[in-house]
């Protein structure tokens, strides 16, 4: 298993990074102002309550894909079981509602993230001993255990009917909104947006710390990384737990937005969707997965609208991406920018 493997991601030259970061500033500002832009020409289309809820879904998927990509893009581990963390957190929320009657968002967040970190800590003991295909399949098998339990123990989980999630109170119950649409489209939009920024900040700091560079060294050449004294197994484990926790954060935020938690989000094709998001945006860059999460959500919403064969269309897109544009949207943008510069 230790023979040199072709590396997943040649590192993006660091000199280019700031340029991408500059583009993120205006985008963040746009996201902050979005609810105020309703009715404004051009951007107003994106600002209707329906679109803001769509954006909230996209941001949540972005968080999930960012967490996932700490493993794929930075550590070189392709997990086909991240549905376990996303769904595990969502089910934690469901259980809190059903059995303890808790409807405070902060308690959900604390419990959801804690539960996923714990879950990742347990899964990680087993999984990080493996790399490549073995890691992927082991994650898939472990996540399927949770799916099977959620499906079969219907007297606890309600089976395929799922668990209802009511509108929560925010900030310890201080903020409560009766109008569900207004709540989701404005209050909750901002709530998710702030946590999105927090997650992005956390991962940015983490991936640009010595720890983050050590992960990339492990990804590029495990033997060499061990040789220079990086505790490979421990760093992989830490990356795994953080990755699980961040994806769990996304799952927790998703539960009240969707209003219903079903075994679907524990089933392994949902893991495939998280993988898809990262690849779509470009898993070799930091910003790729969050762009991919938002883009994926729009893709799914509108592709589903136009054809009932949306899965197949997504499949075609994925195949085309892998064959023609493996660096995803961010990679394609960079390519366009370089071409424009050379042409000028």
């Amino acid at each position: 298993m230790n023979e040199a493997q072709p590396t997943l991601a040649p590192p993006v030259p660091t000199a280019r990074r700031p340029a991408a970061a500059w583009a993120l500033g205006p985008l963040a500002l746009l996201l902050l102002l979005l609810p105020l832009l309703e009715g404004v020409p051009l951007v107003g289309v994106l600002a209707s309550p329906f679109q803001r809820i769509q954006m909230t879904y996209g941001l949540i998927f972005g968080i999930a894909a960012l967490g996932f990509n700490l493993l794929l893009g930075y550590t070189g581990l392709l997990s086909f079981g991240h549905s376990a963390f996303f769904g595990g957190a969502a089910y934690t929320v469901g259980f809190l509602v059903r059995y303890l009657g808790v409807t405070t968002m902060e308690l959900w967040l604390a419990a959801g993230v804690a539960a996923t970190v714990l879950l990742a800590a347990v899964f990680g003991l087993v999984t990080v001993r493996y790399t490549r295909i073995f890691f992927s399949i082991l994650m898939l098998a472990l996540s399927q255990v949770l799916w099977a339990l959620a499906l079969k123990f219907f007297w606890i989980t309600n089976g395929t009917d799922g668990l209802r999630i009511p509108t929560p109170g925010l900030l310890g119950g201080l903020v409560r909104t009766e109008d569900k649409l207004a709540f989701l489209a404005t209050t909750y939009y901002y709530y998710v947006l702030l946590l999105f920024f927090a997650a992005v900040g956390l991962l940015w700091v983490l991936t640009h710390s010595p720890f983050g560079y050590a992960l990339q060294a492990i990804r590029d050449n495990e033997v060499r990384a061990r040789f220079v004294g990086i505790p490979v197994r421990r760093y992989r484990y830490l990356a795994f737990v953080v990755s699980g926790g961040v994806t769990g954060l996304a799952g927790t935020l998703w539960a009240p937005l969707n209003g219903l938690v079903t075994p679907d989000i524990l089933y392994w094709p949902f893991s495939g969707r998280i993988v898809f998001m990262a690849v779509l945006g470009g898993f070799k860059s930091f910003a790729g997965p969050m762009v991919g999460g938002v883009a994926y959500n729009y893709l799914e919403t509108y592709v589903i609208k136009t054809t009932q064969y949306w899965q197949g269309l997504l499949g075609v897109i994925l195949v085309a991406l892998v064959l023609v544009m493996p660096q995803g949207i961010i990679g394609a943008l960079g390519w366009l920018r370089r071409r424009a510069r050379e042409g000028a």
Binding site: L78, I133, S136, A141, Q308, G315
Partner: protein, 298 residues
Amino acid sequence: MDVLAVQVLNALLYAAVLFLIAGGLSLIYGVMRIVNLAHGNLYALGAYVMAWAVGVAGASLSGGIPGTAPPLLVLLLPVAAAVVAVVGAVMEPTLLRPLYRRAEEYQLLITFGLLLILEDVMRILWGATPLSASGLWAAFGSANVLGAVYPRYNLLVIVLGLAVAALLWAVVYRTRFGVVLRATSQDRRMAAAMGIDVGRTYVLAFALGTLMAGLAGAVIVPIQGAVLGMGVDALVLAFVVVVIGGLGSLEGALAGALIVGIVRTVAIQYFPELELAVLYLIAAAVLVTRPAGLLGRA
């Protein structure tokens, strides 16, 4: 006593079908180091093709009266499997070959894309309503086995599974093609240097693997029908089998299929809620203690 006999036969039946699916998956991995996520949907494709063919041929042979399909229709089994093998033979050179020089994660991604595509291709061709070919199953009637009444068609499937296992063993270990196959799987470059046409070997191995998946789908359809989503379920079970037995090992696939067949039959009988979870837990436990699987080489 007869209850036990039926249970044993059910376990064998299940193991036979699982071996066909997982054996193909393992063969493809063994030779090409591809974990084909679309494998389960090729199995489903085999089921759909078979159900459709039985419907068409059965209608013309028996004057459209359902339930009277003659046992002659089992001859359609290899035809359905061959259709799937052709799909495999097209897939490998066009979609997978460009990726061999890249990291193997890309193969997981592209085969996941193919999984989604195949699912919808079947939806387009045959609609969302399940297809059935139970007429064929019924036409075989049942036999007395150790005091238990058991469907004859199921016995046929068990025998077929055993026959394929033996045949595959003979092909891999007793023919020239088997030597080529093993040489290529050991060291692709060395095999090429010895004058083996690696490209052709890959197409044949991939087609053989998908042929087995297609055959598995074709034999199961008279028993349980063809339904969307069956491929995704089967894929994960096939993973469980190859993980237990050892990825890339055919003997391992056989052993894994038997273990899963028995465990599942017992679990369904005594702990129906844990049926699926137990299988995944066994797979995880094997991976933890023996990463290469029970019969796999590290």
